[in-house]
């Protein structure tokens, strides 16, 4: 639809633009925890992807359909058994990793179903988060908007933590982009970056 404004969407979610930049035209994409389908819609319109989302929330199912994207209602935590191995070029987990309970098997499943995985997550090592903790409080910010008692984020990590995880799980990181707002962070990313996006595959 012409009324859909992609430039403003990319401004609100800078990780969308970073993800899109890695995805070639016409790729097949599975978006896990796809929310209202905005990313898939963005990728469909800008990259002509053939995609599906997986989402558990009722209202998001309706929103995805309104966005004109395929959505399968289901719980990521119970695995991706309905999806065949190597069925997708990319399996995306956008701002969802930190809210998954069974993070290890899910990461493995992503690389069973897709050739490559893409995750984005809030960097807990970001200086503002560290400052909050240093002051004695759990951080509440734009990237981590929840109070400690009602947060869905059960597996927060830093860039270092994630990279160690990948190394320990025979996952090969292909590319990384670290951002704060919409500006890219190259210097001291684990300290200065609020959001990280990784592209990875199975280690050979």
């Amino acid at each position: 639809m012409s009324t859909y404004d992609h430039s403003s969407l990319a401004a609100v979610r800078p990780d969308f633009a970073a993800i899109a930049a890695w995805i070639p035209q016409g790729a097949s994409v599975l978006d896990l925890g796809c929310g209202d389908g905005s990313l898939l819609r963005y990728l469909k319109d800008t990259r002509k992807v053939r995609g599906y989302g997986v989402e558990i929330d009722d209202l998001n199912i309706v929103a995805c359909i309104q966005n004109g994207v395929n959505v399968i209602q289901g719980d990521l935590e119970s695995g991706l058994s309905g999806f065949e191995s190597d069925a997708f070029d990319f399996v995306i987990l956008s701002q969802t990793l930190q809210a998954t309970r069974h993070t290890e098997p899910l990461m493995q499943e992503m690389l069973r179903v897709g050739h490559e995985g893409i995750v984005s997550f809030p960097n807990f090592g970001y200086w503002q988060n560290r400052l909050n903790v240093l002051r004695g409080n759990m951080p509440v910010s734009k990237g981590l908007p929840y109070q400690w008692y009602d947060t869905p984020n059960v597996h927060l990590c830093t860039l270092h933590d994630f990279e160690t995880f990948c190394n320990d799980h025979r996952i090969c990181i292909l590319e990384r982009r670290v951002m704060t707002g919409d500006s890219e962070i190259r210097l001291l990313p684990n300290l200065l970056g609020s959001t990280a996006v990784y592209r990875f595959q199975r280690a050979l």
Binding site: D58, V62, I65, V71
Partner: protein, 380 residues
């Protein structure tokens, strides 16, 4: 939405006569037959806005609206269809028909066989879902509809919608398969068999030719319906609605009707037996049992759907144990494996299999959202 409660209003059934013989899967041939149908909304100029609604076991062509001479006779999916409703008749031309073999006006076992001048009875062919789709395609031809915007249905109706995507991949753009299955489980066939046995062993059944004896196998039909009804509801829904309530408030230490649920089931059974044809019931349950598109592909459902080209919406209901969400997910997986467009919703509902007929806000929102997209394809 000002129109959301609007009805399509007064409707009337139409009748189409077909004189080209129809060959059934079984090998039987019906030289001629009639189908009754209703339509709501207006067919657009390029005939691209048509929706076919396929009915389930006890359904028929009266899907929405009411009759001028019987305003209380409201269509079975009236909550879903009308101006401003999820299936919006301001946008779509909706067709409901009574399936071949039915007992609501289309040619069926209770119709008169022109060759003998007597009801077909036991001689009416066993009809499969594929046969129905064939007969529905002929109705579409008659109405000049080359391609449906959508074919949809719940339960046995969902099977017909799925079969459309296999029999006529180019003639259906969207399939909405609701509370259905790619094939029945053994348990499901077992329920149908008990229901059939109730009818077949009723002394008034007379091998299916009860019409000439002036009787109806009421006991068998009633039992079949009572059993079916139990399986269409959820344990929780029954507990909520009836619990262990007693009609008289106290135990009578006999075998009469004591509990509310007994009274309800018998009422439903009697109501059904008063209007439904026993042979049609047998035929409908057989169609359910036989539906199995994977059968000719070594039980590989992925291969069965390889010919499909439609876009799909598959919906199931959490408390539906007769056509469980797991069965719908099997359909979804086969569609995914064929890289077809599919969305799947698992609707939280307490009403069991019957949920697909109910007014349910989220269910209706999903339908509305999907059909809005469908309508954009021809409105643009």
């Amino acid at each position: 939405m000002p129109n959301s409660t609007h009805s399509v209003g007064v409707v009337s059934a139409q009748r189409a006569q077909f004189d080209t013989p129809l060959s059934f899967r079984s090998g039987a041939v019906l030289p001629c037959y009639e189908l009754v149908y209703e339509t709501y909304g207006a067919l657009n100029s390029d005939k691209s806005n048509a929706i076919l609604v396929c009915h389930a076991l006890s359904g028929h062509h009266h899907v929405a609206g009411y009759y001028a001479d019987d305003t209380s006779n409201v269509g079975w999916w009236d909550t879903m269809i009308g101006p401003g409703k999820p299936i919006d008749t301001n946008k779509f031309f909706v067709i409901g028909l009574n399936n071949l073999g039915g007992c609501h006006g289309s040619t069926g076992p209770s119709s008169t066989n022109p060759e003998t001048g007597k009801p077909y009875g036991a001689s009416f062919p066993v009809v499969t879902v594929e046969d129905w789709v064939e007969s529905q395609a002929r109705l579409a031809d008659l109405l000049g509809i080359k391609q449906f915007a959508a074919v949809m249905g719940g339960s046995l109706g969902g099977m017909q919608a799925l079969q459309w995507s296999l029999s006529y991949p180019e003639r259906v753009r969207h399939v909405l398969a609701i509370a259905t299955a790619p094939r029945l489980t053994a348990q499901n066939i077992a329920f149908n068999d008990v229901a059939r046995n109730a009818i077949l062993t009723d002394p008034d059944f007379h091998g299916g030719n009860f019409y000439e004896h002036g009787v109806v196998p009421t006991r068998g039909l009633r039992l079949a319906r009572m059993l079916g009804h139990i399986t269409y509801l959820s344990d929780d829904a029954m507990a909520d609605k009836f619990g262990r309530e007693l009609l008289s408030g106290k135990l009578s230490y006999g075998y009469g009707i004591e509990f509310e649920i007994e009274s309800y089931l018998r009422y439903q059974g009697d109501k059904f037996a008063a209007y439904f044809d026993a042979n049609t019931y047998l035929l409908m349950t057989k169609a359910l049992d036989y539906f199995d598109p994977a059968r000719e592909y070594n039980d590989d459902l992925d291969k069965a759907f390889a010919v499909a080209r439609a876009n799909f919406l598959v919906l199931s209901f959490t408390t539906d144990w007769r056509f469980s969400p797991e069965r719908s997910r099997a359909i979804v997986h086969a569609l995914l494996h064929n890289r077809l467009n599919v969305s799947y919703g698992e609707i939280t509902s307490t009403h069991g299999h019957d949920s697909f007929l109910m007014q349910h806000t989220h269910y209706h929102e999903v339908m509305r959202a999907y059909l809005n997209n469908v309508s954009r394809e021809f409105a643009a």
